[in-house]
Symmetry: D2
Subunit: 484 residues, 4 copies
């Protein structure tokens, strides 16, 4: 038996996007932008550039830093505009043909598109399109966008694009390039982030502001929920193709997905995380000797907790960053080795101490349980656990890889039962209002919540066309292609 994955007990953002218009190094800058968005997807990446005559595509499995940094790869990505995408594996499978951006050549020219999110009526649209004669090559929802564009009734590209966008449901922050334009769009709820930047006059679109920082670009503003921007040599035009509704940004982006140094919707992610820790210290204090973060995602909240509780912050768990895919389990006698591939407790520091561990979230709970055991084995007198988000109870259908609902610990246990399962002396989650306070609200508006918090509340801000009917796999492509 191989192991190594099960200890990766986190929700996973499925994508990061990047686009640049008007720079001679568009290919190289896109690789750098995607590198800084690597935390949003590590399995594969793709870039399409346009050189004034032709589109150029590169798609590779693995990290940007491994596959996209050869001179030969960057040299292929000619031109002054490019878009890129980095992805975590999706239910669509990890075939090469599912790596974005997707490209199609229409009667009027070529178009490449990539998005972060999930189109919740993609399968219904796909069925309709097939009935009209469309042929699909992938199982990705992104291909649906291309077919809608190809079959749109309008004549002009921008009209066809708006016609297409209004048929989509769900969450999507997308970027695209044609022979003449770059486009960017956020769904009307603005579930996923998308920001606009500027580098010496070149326009940049990126999932997070950290992708602007890496190339020295200036942060201009967030693309607004429901906004479609069309960028060409004349500049940027902003359109509003959707009916206006109240925005619902994903609050879990603050909790875990986004990078701490990013600014999203006017807030610094690190600030929000520290504030959650402070809320948590106030809501659920505990009488301990030291505060230990579960590295690395629990660290900002742990700093906030330690400052709020006036307790020493200590690195009691050391993380090994040199982690490959999977390790071979030697034998049954040492089967609990999994968690130690990434983490080790510092016995000398912990021995005899009462400790509180701070983590960002609990998904299946299996890793938390192992980490707690590891800390106990290192001699802790007491182990308390504080979680910088409310209990994760429901699946996300907006571009996050969530385990089946029944595998979410909080969907089948009370907090007390969870404490027992994880074997901690005490367990507490930040309250939903505490979380909203940390994000700058007075409290959650239960009528029309300010954020999408469906993973905590199961209140979904859109209809779930294909997921309600539970037929989501039935008409996906039956072709099984080799992965090599």
């Amino acid at each position: 038996m191989a192991f190594g994955e099960y200890d990766d007990d986190k929700l996973h953002e499925e994508c990061g996007v990047f686009g640049i218009y008007g720079h001679p190094d568009s290919g190289a800058l896109t690789t750098l932008g995607l590198h800084s968005l690597q935390h949003r997807g590590q399995e594969a990446a793709g870039i399409v550039s346009f050189d004034g005559k032709q589109f150029h595509a590169e798609r590779h499995r693995g990290l940007i830093g491994d596959s996209f940094t050869k001179q030969s790869v960057v040299d292929e990505l000619k031109g002054h505009r490019a878009i890129g995408h980095t992805r975590y594996s999706t239910t669509g499978g990890d075939e090469m043909r599912n790596i974005q951006p997707f490209f199609a050549e229409f009667f009027g020219g070529g178009f490449a598109v990539a998005h972060n999110g999930n189109i919740t009526n993609a399968n219904s649209l796909r069925r309709d399109l097939q009935r009209e004669g469309a042929i699909f090559q992938s199982t990705s929802d992104t291909e649906v966008i291309l077919h809608l564009l190809a079959m749109a009734k309008n004549t002009m590209f921008v009209d066809r694009l708006q016609e297409t966008l209004t048929r989509l449901e769900g969450a999507f922050s997308l970027v695209g390039i044609s022979a003449k334009k770059m486009i960017g769009c956020r769904d009307p709820l603005g579930v996923r982030p998308l920001v606009l930047g500027d580098l010496d006059g070149a326009f940049i679109l990126a999932s997070e502001s950290c992708a602007l920082d890496i190339i020295g670009a200036r942060f201009v503003r967030d693309i607004e929920p429901g906004e479609l921007v069309i960028i060409n040599d004349e500049g940027l035009v902003s359109l509003r193709p959707f009916k206006k509704i109240k925005q619902r940004f994903c609050i879990f982006e603050y909790v875990y997905f986004a990078r701490p140094d990013s600014m999203i919707e006017g807030k610094n992610v690190y600030d929000v995380r520290k504030a959650i820790g402070t809320e948590l210290a106030a809501e659920s204090p505990c009488d301990v000797d030291i505060v230990i973060p579960v590295p690395d995602s629990g660290t900002p909240a742990a700093i906030g907790f330690a400052q709020g509780a006036n307790l020493p912050f200590e690195l009691g768990i050391i993380r090994n960053h040199y982690v490959g895919r999977t390790f071979i389990q030697p034998s049954d006698s040492i089967r609990h080795i999994g968690v130690k591939l990434k983490h080790n407790a510092n016995r000398k520091l912990i021995e005899g101490k009462r400790v509180v561990l701070v983590d960002d979230s609990i998904v299946r709970g299996t890793t938390s349980r192992k980490i707690v055991q590891m800390v106990r084995d290192a001699g802790a007198a007491e182990v308390h656990l504080r979680i910088a988000s409310p209990p994760t109870r429901a699946s996300c259908f907006y571009g996050v890889d969530t385990p089946h609902r029944q595998k979410l610990l909080a969907s089948r246990m009370s907090v007390e039962e969870m404490a027992d399962f994880i074997r901690v002396d005490s367990l507490a989650f930040v309250s939903i209002d505490g979380l909203y306070r940390a994000a700058g609200e007075v409290a959650r508006d239960n009528e029309v919540p300010q954020y999408c918090d469906a993973c905590f509340s199961a209140e979904y801000p859109t209809s779930l066309t294909d997921y309600d009917e539970r037929s989501n796999v039935s008409n996906l492509s039956l072709l099984v292609e080799a992965k090599g």
Copy 2:
């Protein structure tokens, strides 16, 4: 400078196809069938099988014997039916996405198809389909077939298929599988071969009968020009979707493309080739000491020539079969090394002798010139050259990779000029009537020729929709994808 290609001065068949219906080892048998058709295309190959539930695809660059013989590859190709395709590179480029068979999932289910030939109105059809909203992923004419099927007006699959086939122009011997059927079809002229075989009740379709021999299958008959066969669990049904016209099988298949052990249209290829040699000896005798074949393609005609002329047949040129792609040229001083990578003259045998070399055809003439020089360098007293086909003067648009017309030696030189260029003491080609006689006819029927001989006569048996207007590249996909 790398070299190694230029000495490969031959026309190239672009494809071989194979299909099997009703055998538990369909995947493995298809690899064997394609292996025996490897002479029809060496650059890449693909196989799609159907296991009753799903289609499985494998596409690889290189030889069948290198890429398709791993257990893991064959294991993927589950099911009782499969089709395969082996190809030489086409103008469409050698990207992975151009490797056949092509697959699409329609509203009614999946369908995979591959063909040997060339659809001469593919670009026009493509333009029309794009106008209707079709998105193309490849530059292959085969994808056009899938889109025509997807957008066909009829309801039933077989009707849609016939509707599709009648819109195609050019040459095509195609095989396809759906969830219920295998189909095979030859264009109304029957330019390319396609035979039907039987292996313990399983139906087999293959470009040549040698693909039946390798798996121990029985040759049943040729699929007839204009015939569409539909094979399912009930058996085989033969349809005739096309208007009946006189057949025009490609006579160059006898000259060079097909394997000598294949039976095509009732004739044995080796027999025809030997007969050409005998015709040639009668038409253009020469007073020499020995007959030397240019290996390996000139060998059967050389045997026929030697028997006809009552001269000794000798291996005066040794072929090195261990040839890789290209070699590095060491320096200018030894730049004529190219031809020696494949051939070496046997000096001891040749020295002081008058020799006649027999080859199947002359394309650019560059290799012939080098071989003649090599034989002279080895001490031949006289070197004569006899060619087992008429002068190759015109391009083929029916699935053969021909150089640009102006590169064909015979298109710009008389036979005398060619003899000078190649530096032989005498040069002769078999006459067109001699060729037809060797193929069993009394003579060529100049009104309605019995074969397609356009490469010799420039008389094309179909209209050349896309080639007449010279717009054939303009609307092909502009996406340049990496090859790895």
Copy 3:
């Protein structure tokens, strides 16, 4: 120009070693042990096991987690004993043949050996051995050990081994296995660490105690400086082949090389690092708003500094852990992008603040300068820098990859000049006595220092036979082998 390396401005430990005797999963456990020692060398690794009849070797470039975790690799490493080695590139070059462990078959049987350190008279020994007829296959000092063993005068293996060890100068913590034994040895100064552990009766040797933790083994004790342990089925025998001298453990292991959770020579590395930070806060306080670690190596000292100075500890620099080898530099206009591949300043946190950065050491100073500039660009009002070691002034010849002395910033600048170069408002290093205090001493004993601190003091505890004469490259192998 590619970049990516220059920002890695650290000294590099060259090796980690691991050995296990008496466990059926010796191969798999050695991969895990090496994984936890990955910080000591990331370029390549090797493992040799013995199955009672045969030795089995695996050598691969890259991380353990990438190359050694395939079932097929682990399956090759049969047997109840194994040794492994992970390495950073050395001057000997990165050819496969230089990957340890080294193996030789003597008249009396096979022996595999690997070590951490550097044998400073290896080239002299090599010359002598070649004169006697020895043939070398590598440029590694480890091969010298094998030849000394092969040509030793004594009869019994243990005697030959002791004869060999006493001819070595320099630093070496070595492990070896023969058909009957496992051996471990530390040089008389004990420059590099080596610990003994126990897993259910199996003996383990490892560079650091964290390699025991990962497999759940118990820490037994340090192998002592000058100790040779012979382990076989009867148990462990301790020998003292060397003349007794005062030990000189490498103090830089505490500063940077070792993992914070390791126990070495009775001290916890994290504790020592925090204590250095506290010493530094006392010696060189500064009036700032926040303490920011240069991640990750400066973090423990920064925590100690913040606690000592009673200042808030904040993550002002975010590290991107998804870093590949090198990135293509887009163009001159953004040439300072290098450091941002790994680090980004959190502008929102830093803007307008007075900050002190804490790092472990300064080598060339180029990265420090870039990080300081990045923090200034993020809006810091003042930037101070505190270094948790004395100025690094001299090369290490004991198994550490140090730049040429003239590239060490402290070898050619005063602290004031360094502050100017790095552009900080103030710069301070911990004093040598402060460092010794943090390591538990009252002060440095300048007569016979308790540690090897040659990189700070240029006082080398051994003669440097080959380095004094500056002839170290002259008689190394002239064969340049391809790396693939």
Copy 4:
């Protein structure tokens, strides 16, 4: 079960060697030379060049045309002298470390060496050398030569070399380069070939003259049995280090190993093969309609047979040259497919005819049996078999990969029994005297045969030190190294 190998029922020459001194393109020319010697070994190849300062080595598995033709590989092989080696797998195993040429750096400088043959006392020498302290890295007999050189008593290189050579037993045609010289040597019996050539003043050594032809070099002469040539900037010096004995060239080189266009010991290989066919037709005529060669190795003898018997020579068996390593056997029902991967009978030609097949030799007989069956299945009225060598009864210990003696069909069956086993209407081998006549002798001199014909006669021209005692594997290295 995979198959594909068993039908390769031939003896295999294990090596070809090439060397060039004094040409700026030495690396590229060596790749070409090895390419023309590819028939002597297809599993791996190596080249070592010397550029005046350093030696450069490239070793790769597979064909020259696949691995050595990249510009990057050739560019590495700098310098005006180089030696190369191509090999078939040996008992030593196919690890990279066994690929020749071998290199060692002695006290006096570097030396690279490669040979064709087998040193029959290598294991004894190895044991002695290990006793003296030598460490072996490979299981190849070539490494023994390097250690003998390293430990030789003489002072001067040429003296050490002669001292070394005289300790070797068996067959060896070797080439070597040092910083100053190229050397070539044939063992006193001259079992394996080695020729001298000239290319514009550069000296060339090669196993066969066809390696001179490919680069346009002039054949100068055979290196004589027992001759050692020393080539340097002053020219060539010929030495005779061995006691003079009568030469015994391997007669099987004429039968099968060498290329038909090579001149060896003054004879043309094609001529000898045709002459064998003519002898065979005279010795064992048969009343048939056509003569069919078993391609390709039986072809020259079949031409000679047909001319001698005045029968038509016809290509009744077509060979598929596109053969990869192994194919997956689909199922038991078609298990005899193996032979058809390479060969197919031409039914149309064979049907109803009486045929004689001509092949060069019978080893295990399994392939002959399958080919005969294939010809019968194609409808032959009678099938006779004529073999262009005497029955192969004994193992070769001089550099040929022979099956275990008991697997040689002729070692356990009479000719009649073999005919039954192979299922032919008649079977005949050329007589040993007929073979000697074809090679230009009046008859075999049974006292002191003119050739080594041990595979037919079991009369070995040397003592077989290591093979007599049957201890040949016992003290080879116990290290099992991964192959990748």
